[in-house]
Subunit: 596 residues, 2 copies
């Protein structure tokens, strides 16, 4: 139950697929030298493997506890959090003006993968804080930025996102929490649920970002404003002062991520919590959308991370568990189960999909950097469009795969997988939240179809299809069976993705409901096809490095055979979603509601 950051795989994805060199060459990233990046990766790997990973099982078993209004995190959490802050890990990608290190988001995503794989229950506090920092950074006043950002970027204080209410989950228009103006601040009242790290004992202050409705605001989403509601109001000295009128009234009993306190938060039981308006009234929801790309990328990375963790554990078990003879050998002695074809198929399925996710996740993170820093603003806008298109795919496809792969991890363990002490089941339980939070995967598919593809008639997706075809063409001259097979699948993937995109782009105008009925299969097809594209890109790069005797040949050959496995075993059923996604609109409403 350990975790070792797969540094070689990460470096390969960074350099050969996501274009780390191009990112590091962007203006503003001059300090992201190869040496610095390597040092960051290696130090992060140590902290993840030696510091965070060993606390993961205990965090699950003991969990966070609420006693007399105080949330106690699991044993070791407060200590490791301090180490984390002291090491400057929290500040990696943030604005140097407020104490950040201004490193590329691509690097932050890679490091994020390590934290989340090592300990997702812990990693969540980082993820929420990142979202709150983004919101204040983009929309806060200069004074708000000066007050909150340095503390939150260092990690001395953490941030939360208070969106959900019992009657308002995916549908934020139904929010009821109220904010009444009182001089230079507002009085906030209401109850919020599912507030991750809404209360904890790791920092001296917690900065709640709260969506609430002003008294005469219009109904619906335009009536929602965003407020900073700190647990302790910062005094003139910037230090935590008066206790604010908010509290954690209970913790949810959850299937997984037990170490992460999921709070029911009550604001204003004593008359109203002090809240400070961010930006303008009525624009709260649009501010939330600003940070959505980063937050959803991070959740996608969590899917990748939990898959990697589950894979490492399954692979280690398969190498040591001895059962039954080797079918490919005349020897009657039982062998390690990794010698058995179906165990091998499961491990390869896990590994190939993990590499596909890592390729697409890092590629998308590189796009965030490009969109931020590219000197040509037209080019930057195109990159941004691509990122906007990819984000729902990364969030939903990765988190579905995270569950499937964690479940395969249990299966590789056989009976031991069902026993909690083994740890494989924890990954499955932890993973199950990922397709739900930060917008359910159905909402991601809706975003992909109803917003992203609809916006430009599929043009951005088709530009990716064109890149897939260009790569296939480039591969025509590459030697060997493996690359020929990968190239042929890449062509099939491009065809299916083009057909599906054109159908979706047309349907979303002609029959929105039909397009939405097919949106989840479409997203699955798109993610699997794009993952295959980037694995093919990696395979071609590996081939050319092999030819140039540049790098470890065993490692490079592994990239090629893994891409081939993906192309031949993983891709076909996903590409066969073309028919179903078109059929869904016709059939999902055929059965009367009462009969369901």
């Amino acid at each position: 139950m350990t975790y070792t950051a797969p540094l070689a795989d990460m470096r390969f994805a960074l350099r050969e697929v996501a274009g780390l060199q191009r990112v590091a060459a962007l203006p503003g990233y001059e300090h992201a030298t190869d040496d610095t990046i390597d040092a960051v990766l290696e130090e992060a790997a140590k902290l993840a493997g030696n510091g965070l990973a060993p606390l993961n099982r205990e965090g699950d078993k003991v969990g966070a506890k609420l006693e007399n209004g105080v949330v106690r995190t699991a044993p070791g959490f407060a200590g490791i959090y301090k180490e984390f802050v002291d090491g400057g890990w929290n500040s990696l990608p943030f604005d140097p003006e407020f104490g950040g290190q201004g490193m590329p988001w691509l690097l932050a995503a890679t490091v994020q993968e390590m934290w989340q794989a090592a300990n997702m229950g812990f990693g969540l506090v980082l993820l929420l804080n990142q979202g709150a920092i983004d919101a204040i950074h983009h929309h806060g006043s200069p004074q708000q930025k000066a007050t909150y950002l340095p503390k939150m970027i260092s990690g001395e204080w953490t941030g939360t996102m208070n969106l959900t209410e019992p009657q308002a989950g995916s549908d934020l228009a139904q929010l009821k929490s109220r904010a009444v103006k009182a001089g230079d601040h507002y009085r906030i009242t209401g109850q919020k649920i599912f507030i991750t790290y809404g209360e904890h004992d790791m920092t001296e202050n917690i900065v709640h970002l709260v969506l609430a409705r002003t008294p005469d605001a219009p109904a619906g989403v335009r009536g929602i404003s965003l407020f900073i509601v700190p647990k302790f109001l910062p005094g003139a000295d910037g230090k935590p002062g008066q206790r604010n009128d908010l509290r954690c009234v209970s913790l949810e009993h959850k299937l997984g991520i037990h170490a992460s306190p999921t709070c029911v938060m009550s604001f204003g039981d004593g008359g109203g919590a002090v809240g400070y308006l961010v930006g303008e009234e009525g624009r709260g929801l649009s501010y939330m959308f600003t940070m959505m790309n980063n937050a959803r990328l991070s959740v996608g990375i969590q899917g990748l991370a939990i898959a990697e963790r589950a894979y490492q554990q399954a692979s280690a078990f398969a190498k040591t568990r001895v059962q039954s003879k080797d079918d490919g050998s005349p020897q009657p002695e039982p062998v390690a189960i990794i010698r058995h074809a179906d165990i091998r198929r499961m491990l390869m399925t896990m590994r190939a999909q993990i590499e596909a996710m890592r390729a697409l996740g890092y590629y998308t993170a590189a796009g965030i950097d490009g969109a931020l820093k590219h000197p040509d603003r037209d080019a930057a806008r195109k990159i941004q469009d691509r990122v906007d298109l990819l984000i729902p795919i990364v969030k939903a496809w990765f988190t579905d795969l995270g569950n499937e792969i964690a479940s395969l991890g249990v299966q590789v363990h056989g009976g031991m997988g069902f026993i909690e002490e083994t740890g494989a089941a924890q990954h499955l339980r932890d993973a199950r939240i990922l397709p739900i939070y930060e917008g359910t995967n159905g909402i991601q598919a809706r975003d992909l179809v109803g917003r992203k593809v609809a916006k430009d008639g599929g043009e951005t997706m088709l530009s990716l299809v064109a890149e897939m075809r260009a790569l296939a063409k480039e591969m025509t001259t590459a030697p060997g069976d493996d690359l020929a097979s990968i190239r042929s699948s890449l062509g099939a993937a491009a065809d299916a993705l083009e057909d599906a995109t054109r159908w979706v782009a047309q349907s979303v105008k002609a029959d929105l409901v039909a397009a939405l009925a097919g949106s989840v299969p479409f997203l699955r097809l798109a993610g699997t096809a794009l993952g295959g594209w980037l694995l093919a890109k990696g395979a071609l790069a590996a081939q050319s490095k092999l030819a140039g005797r540049d790098g470890d040949p065993t490692f490079l050959e592994a990239k090629i055979v893994t891409a081939r496995f993906y192309a031949e075993v993983v891709l076909p059923p996903a590409l066969a979603q073309l028919g179903p996604l078109q059929a869904a609109g016709r059939t999902v409403f055929a059965l009367p509601e009462a009969l369901l």
Copy 2:
């Protein structure tokens, strides 16, 4: 979190798909009249819905507890078990000679679905007892039968299966438990793990069936014998007498089925437990295989059952949870989420697959009856071959779907699905054991490919393909778009299943490892295709009843549109497993073990 047995759906599957009338007409089933069967179904539905289902959540929460060597089952379990025995429910399918009711296994499977859906943690005790009864019935001496069967068939005593040891899970050849002859009995020593209901407080005695090795037995599976090792040795009066030298030393902490005590059993700590040899020495494993078909069918039925339970809960939630406007309507008010296309897609995916499982499960159970009772022994043997082929498909495909459907159930609930109080997560946790126990699904696929298809070169499977084609032909004249679409998919399914079967039958001889590498995708393809066939059969029957104005038209139309949804949305990705299953052998071993 209630459960209502879907009696109308069950009756349809029994009568229109599985051929209940033909089963009831078999010699020996004269008492299985329509009236009797209907009464059994209705009474069972009441006990399942009102008695067992309400205990399911508490059973999960409290679980079974071991204290001072005594296992206390969850609140209400002992009481409902008594009700169960008093009502004669346990004896339904067993031999009247020993107090059974001799009803068809088809009816027992249907009722089994209810028990397992209502409360899987409870249902497991029935399943294990059934296996033990089968073993003694087939292989016990007349005296053993007389001593144990009446008590076990009534349910006054329960049976267990003691197979697994820490070093011997799927590979029973590695068993080390010992049995030393001592006059008319044996002394048993050894430790067994994963013993379901190995100890509990619901009955006055527990009959352990234990696999152990005699001192001079050959290594491997031929050295294994089967023993009856009762908790209390029956006295001359048949009542529980002397306490035997065996005990439950601990309970496993499991992901799910908390109500079912999973025991580590220690035999012979005080010198040796008294065990009575069943049949002959050295034949223990072959005796176990006798009861495998029934046991594996039951586990498959558990997959179906948990899927139905998860579906009912998700559907009820979707009808009451109000979020967001209806995309198909100009009204801005939020509506029940069942109006949203993707929620509807999830519910339809659940429902269509549940109906396909029910059709195939009941069809297989009817085959068990046919093989037992058909007066023409040649016909009976052919039916038996078909059952043998279908059993691994039912076990593995149903249990994989059980997990996928329970996970969809969580997803329909959104954030509430992750909260344990909701109950949706319990179904997912409970379901996760099903692909593991009673032979992992990898072992089922191995059995399908390496034994069942290999045995006759695929002939039995191809006879099913011929029936699929015959049905497609019969549907040519059926009216309407729905049936035309179903027919066309049925043709595609027959083609894919034929191609896959021919490839597997050939490969299993030419390259066993390659065939095994593709065995799980093959099983998935076969299950999905056969499920589609039986849904098509049901759709055609519904069509003809509609034409004859025989039955509720809304219900009958639902059968048709559900079959169409399955044909257009569920089938295509499964049929696309043809390429992957062929490719797997080439690719799963391409990556060196050390790199995995």
